[in-house]
Symmetry: C2
Subunit: 494 residues, 2 copies
């Protein structure tokens, strides 16, 4: 008989751009999200959890003529009876599902509707270092409130949230700007066409990088970038560029001065004046709640998202310094941002519904907490009860049960117990703080040995062979005192 | 110019078989999962979170010749440079990803590896009432431990978990069986072929429904089912059927009697004897930890999953009674199950690795907790500060901030304040316990009105119009006492 060809073994790999999270990577994130949820809840926001899967139609991608509308999203077609079902896709953010949910359930939901959502989203993009195709988002939005009191509330919420998870006051700053002010500025500029307007918007987005002089050059004739390439300018006159520069640089530390600068930057524009008034109102509402400019400030240099949002925009930055790859100090930077977008459900219902909301960069914020030593400590490994005599597994199991019932994380060694060295290697890999050993001799004497593995490894690192051999980190205790004595050691390393 | 045809509005709907979860539906589940995670962690299990997306290859579906291998899973093909990338799919359970993770990271993971995982899984199946295409699973597995001590540990873990989330002792029972005992029984039966063996396995799976007499009929000539249809039997003789019936009915309440019955059911089979010895060992290990047969018992009538698993199987049932759709009493039933499956990573590495684990039916267990009134109460609505004068939003915002800083869930009304009735309707929809009102008069006098909405709605239900008009549920308090007096009301309804 011919030998059958074996199927090749499958590769044990995550798809490109996806990853696994282990142990404290999971629990630290969950702890942080739970603290955030507490603040959101206290502010009156309600939890919402929609499915990971939406129709492509609801997500707002256009069904193209080509086979798969999966540019940017992971999408597939349902097979129904006729072989041509709906196109479904994984959500790419939490805002598009909110729009669908609000349109679908608007008769049952309160108006305004404050909701928070946390969960994974998916992007069908080229992955890069630290850039994954599945990641967490954590959003709070208020739907159906036209008043900028809703925007001010989200800013206060963001400040309280950052403090709740462990970013101390002084280490963060929430900066607020307003798209309407920018609209006023654009009005003053007497631009020729939409293309020019878009070019101005793109230039404004570069302010963070190129500064005032760079923006002036880019709005005018152009500029040599760092790589030596020449970037064409928008071609505006110096006078046309003035309002943009005035807008971007109008931050003056003091609120009144900033607002005066802005008022002059928007000239006679009605929209612009409205935008300035909104910023004043936001600042007043926040001041009334005790949120001063040390925490939340009006700052026209916040440009991220100005093209996308329709009213106030806000961004939370962490101001403490970290070292970058090359050992240079830099500010940690942005961890959350958001703003007002006023056509959330119009696609579905034809009715414009105002909304404003914030999205926290979960991984960025978690990285910041780790940087500051504010993430809950990596979970301590379990106490490992070793197995000297495999026929007495029930005795070891009893020890473990006693420890667990005292609230101590503990486990019995469940591998092959033959090689005792392997058991200690296992305890090491588990970052076990304590190992418990009970052979026949110990059992006969009614004692157990407990081994302080943390002290042990310190001795191993620092002590001479002679000192090591004495192993003062291991000692004998009465079996009846097992739980108490283990607890003593754990308390030392809390 | 011709009028442009408008694109039709998208439907605001979840895809078929998916749903949204609101408010306490989300938070109650999260609270339950967190309590479960605490127990898992105390037992030494480490969190693992893999992505929702895996390669179809890793999930173990065969790539068919047809276009899409999405039978049972949601799958799609990656478009790479050549237009023919990997097939990806949403995970359909948490076990297949565990196999992939363990094979991929086995050099870095401890052996044995205890891990827990919680999260959504997706099934591309026809949805039905209460049956969704995305739902939560919550698993704990031990990989790399051949000893049945690992199975015993999972049973103890399951008992502790049920008690931790709020199922009292006496309201649950974990029943344990062993596939090896069944293998011994099958050995004794002198079956002709594999088809007959499979038919016997299928019959055993019906024992729960048809009982001893039914199983005898189905193993023999056949039987009339409830609908009057005749079901063909396996065609065994009475004598051949005896060991199966002996096996299924060998539970005797007392462990020793059960094991004696099982020993006789497996006759001279070596595998069968090994299976009985394992059950004895599990019972002894559990007894040593204080887990008696009132919580975990050996019970050969547990048949679910016997075909799939390779060793011990276990199932957790809730034994309290509920009323079914027709008002009849019945036991709540199964909320978790699992067992030993010994070829977890062999597909990937060629090496057999033993594993055992349990999966909790998250939605079933949550339903049970709600049934018993053990789920955390539906989150109370927020205190609503109404807006009598829209120019004084900052004052109302200040009240809300004071309330929140005292830990009270509170919000200011952010809708259009013109119609005060709408504000009270909103408070009602939010299930607000208290509304706060401060008009110009109140402000001048330094007071606010607080309205006990819970008392108010009770009065509205029971009181006459005259009593209602007096509105004793609404009263005036000094502005400085706002937080204290609101807290008094909230404490009444805790």
């Amino acid at each position: 008989m011919a030998k059958q060809k074996k199927a090749p073994r499958p590769k044990a790999q995550t798809p490109k751009g996806f990853r696994d999270y282990f142990g404290s990577e999971v629990t630290q994130r969950n702890d942080m999200l739970q603290k955030i949820a507490e603040v959101y809840h206290r502010y009156g926001f309600d939890a919402l959890e929609s499915a990971g899967v939406e129709t492509v139609e609801a997500l707002g991608k256009f069904l193209p003529d080509v086979d798969r509308p999966n540019e940017g999203v992971f999408a597939w077609q349902e097979s129904d009876e006729d072989g041509a079902g709906d196109w479904l896709a994984l959500r790419y953010d939490l805002t598009a599902p909110l729009a669908r949910v609000y349109a679908q359930h608007r008769n049952d939901l309160p108006t305004p509707y404050r909701r928070y959502a946390m969960g994974p989203v998916w992007r069908n993009e080229k992955p890069g270092p630290g850039r994954y195709r599945q990641f967490y988002q954590c959003d709070a939005d208020t739907v159906g409130a036209a008043s900028v009191a809703a925007d001010a509330e989200i800013c206060a919420l963001l400040a309280d949230t950052l403090e709740q998870v462990g970013i101390p006051r002084g280490d963060y700053l929430i900066r607020v700007n307003n798209r309407k002010v920018l609209n006023g500025v654009l009005e003053c500029m007497a631009l020729d066409n939409v293309a020019q307007r878009d070019a101005v918007l793109r230039t404004i987005d570069k302010f963070d990088k190129v500064g005032e002089v760079g923006v002036r050059e880019l709005l005018g004739k152009g500029r040599l970038d760092a790589s030596g390439a020449y970037i064409d300018g928008v071609g505006l006159s110096q006078e046309q560029a003035d309002p943009v520069v005035a807008f971007l640089t109008s931050g003056a530390g003091l609120l009144d001065a900033t607002l005066t600068n802005l008022t002059s930057a928007v000239g006679g524009s009605v929209a612009g004046a409205e935008g300035v008034a909104e910023l004043r109102q936001i600042a007043e509402l926040l001041a009334a709640g005790g949120y001063g400019p040390d925490r939340i400030m009006i700052d026209p240099s916040v440009v991220r998202g100005l093209g996308y949002y329709t009213g106030p925009v806000y961004e939370a930055e962490l101001t403490f310094e970290i070292l970058d790859d090359k050992g240079r100090k830099r500010q940690f930077g942005s961890v959350a941002g958001g703003g007002r977008y006023d056509d959330l459900v119009k696609r579905f219902t034809g009715q414009a519904v105002p909304a404003t909301g914030v999205s926290i960069g979960v991984d960025r914020l978690l990285a910041a907490l780790r940087e500051k030593g504010r993430a809950d400590k990596a979970a301590q490994g379990p106490v490992v009860v070793t197995v000297m005599d495999r026929d007495r597994m029930a005795d070891y199991q009893t020890m473990v049960t006693e420890l667990r019932q005292a609230g101590i994380r503990a486990e019995v060694y469940l591998g092959n117990p033959k090689n005792f060295g392997n058991q200690l290697k296992y305890a090491d890999k588990r970052a076990a703080p304590v190992a418990v050993i009970e052979g026949a001799d110990e059992q006969a004497q009614g004692v157990v040995q407990i081994k302080d593995l943390i002290l042990g490894s310190r001795l191993a690192a620092d002590a001479s062979l002679e000192e090591w051999k004495e192993r003062p980190s291991q000692y004998t205790v009465p079996r009846t005192e097992l739980v108490t004595r283990v607890k003593e050691i754990l308390d030392l390393y809390k």
